[in-house]
Assembly symmetry: C2
Homo-oligomer: 126 residues x 2
DNA sequence: AGGTTGTATCGATGTTCTTCGATTCAAGAT
DNA sequence: ATCTTGAATCGAAGAACATCGATACAACCT
């Protein structure tokens, strides 16, 4: 889901052509995963790790939330394709899947050849 | 809110350093606005318009939703700073605020000097 | 085997979100 | 002034979400 041809297809996405329904549904899932402050902080903590991965045991105590809640948020980020994880002994480590953030960045980037005329405020039709 | 110094501050955001609480709350509002298929389609329809603006009367009939619902979604996109609008006679026109999408794209883009070592699967600690 | 620690899953609860019909507001036309 | 059309606002109803405590699962230690 997403990645096959929908979201990044050839590249344009979002700002250059109208999204069709299927594309918008898939894309919305990813943005919805980013639409929560806790998940955004989790993602940034995971992504900014030099080693490339973080133990859950380092993430959980950084929040005033229960352990199951953090686990739930991590699951949503994983289902969105933004991160992945692996158990290593007693601990579970998470890391960023940069393909997805790259894809989102591309989707939000205009082709540079689309200046967006005037903000209409100064344009008017008079 | 957002844009002053929080989200783009100097530039890094999200993938290079942990977000603080205030930043994550502001950013989450914008991503949450993008986390709905209808709003994503509305935004793409608005952004991809050559003229730079779209009349609401062109947006509403493109969906199987009531007029108040579309109006509501447009309001959320506007409150997120993604679009703006202006009434011109009987009609209201919406256009993209590229500053916000540019900002998001920047936030999701890694500085290129962050290769993300190995996916831990091949690393192991043994 | 039994105990301990770290993490995920399960139900339940309160909140937020999406959507609607009804209404109100804005502006032009008769 | 009244009517008509386009768009926003106002409740209300149902669905989806965030959060918790309790519990189950996984792996290590003694």
């Amino acid at each position: 889901m997403l990645g096959q041809d929908g979201v990044d297809g050839c590249c344009p996405g979002l700002l250059t052509a109208p999204l069709d329904e299927a594309q918008s549904v898939e894309l919305a899932k990813v943005f919805k995963a980013l639409g929560d402050p806790i998940r955004l902080r989790l993602l940034s903590m995971i992504a900014s790790r030099a080693g490339g991965e973080v133990c859950v045991c380092d993430l959980t105590p950084a929040f005033d939330l229960s352990q199951p809640t953090i686990s739930h948020h991590l699951k949503l980020l994983r289902q969105a394709g933004l991160i992945d994880c692996e158990r290593r002994g007693t601990w579970v480590y998470y890391w960023l899947l940069p393909e997805m953030t790259d894809r989102l960045a591309g989707i939000l980037t205009r082709p540079a050849g689309q200046p967006l005329p005037e903000p209409a405020g100064t344009a008017g039709d008079a």
